[in-house]
Symmetry: C2
Subunit: 191 residues, 2 copies
Amino acid sequence: MVEKKGAGRPSNRDVILDAADQLVAAEGAGHLTFDALSQTTGISKGGLLYHFKSKDCLLQAMLKRRVERYEALREQYHHEFANDPKGELKSILLAALDTDAECSRLGSGMLAAAATNPELLGPLKEHIALTLQRLERIAGSKVGKTLFYAVHGARLFEQLNLCDACVHEREDFAQYLLKLVDELTEIESIR
Amino acid sequence: MVEKKGAGRPSNRDVILDAADQLVAAEGAGHLTFDALSQTTGISKGGLLYHFKSKDCLLQAMLKRRVERYEALREQYHHEFANDPKGELKSILLAALDTDAECSRLGSGMLAAAATNPELLGPLKEHIALTLQRLERIAGSKVGKTLFYAVHGARLFEQLNLCDACVHEREDFAQYLLKLVDELTEIESIR
DNA sequence: CTTTATCAACCGTCTGGTTGGTATAGTAAT
DNA sequence: ATTACTATACCAACCAGACGGTTGATAAAG
């Protein structure tokens, strides 16, 4: 009864989730199995199932962790852009574009869930719906959405390994997006 | 030795491919199996394996068909925009955005391949690399890419069922993109 | 009598999940 | 301090079903 939900020590739980993300990124969502996970982590299948009592639970945990990390990043950026009138939009875009040390494994859970049990994407879908609503409020109805999709399109292409070289262009892309935000919202407000 | 590669009659091959696309869209890439396909098509597993001698072959065929359809659409749009200086860019975007009667199942093969054998994405990756090169040539280096990613981001989100309501907004989105193309390339050329 | 298209039956492997057990560490009463 | 109990964190062995793929047969068409 020590931990209930709070961020505990570097438990094996996180080790497993990391390995799961890596596995999906390296071999595709279809190869995320307890057996494979057992091999790469060194933890037996029984051990894995102690932490996540079913595969759905594992996928949910992957998904949840990513959304939480995204939200943390977004808020961080939001503070950095505190005095920018378009700061909210910018923080949404940059957080989505951002990576966590490695290059863009932000969607492993998403792809794995989509492959094995699309219903698990429900919460993520809600989160996205809220983001889209927010985008409509804070930017021209189309500008925000379009840039949002652009960022996620780039991220997904990179994760699916459909393009390379995105990595070192990432910073450039981010700068370009920030410029675009200013220019486009300007145009839209004139009309 | 009748057919080698040409488009034959409405063979069961296409029926199977349609069913495969549908299955992935409905249940996720992980549920694309010969057994499931056998049930939905009414063709026995042996029958399926006659047309596609392995699962990799099936995935390759799905992928290939989609790329071909995309290319056909793109060329069609290209003719429509013959007198538009930005016609090439516009045709690339609209073709990617377009649907084939149903709503955006353009990426079933892609997702299924990514899930089960990412190496199969090689040809698609090349195709995308070429498109990105072309985009750099015909538009401002960043404008084209950004809008390309935006279109594919929207498409993928819709396919993964991460947003709805995209469908009836599709035409709006297309119109907006065309406007954006003109505006953005204008801005970029001024600078 | 060969080619095309199809099927039912089968096989070995993989997969998610269950079961029953072990080792460790903390708690608390004796 | 010893004993007894409990919770955590694992593991090996097993299971039933699903999976990709093989085989041998069949039936129609040219």
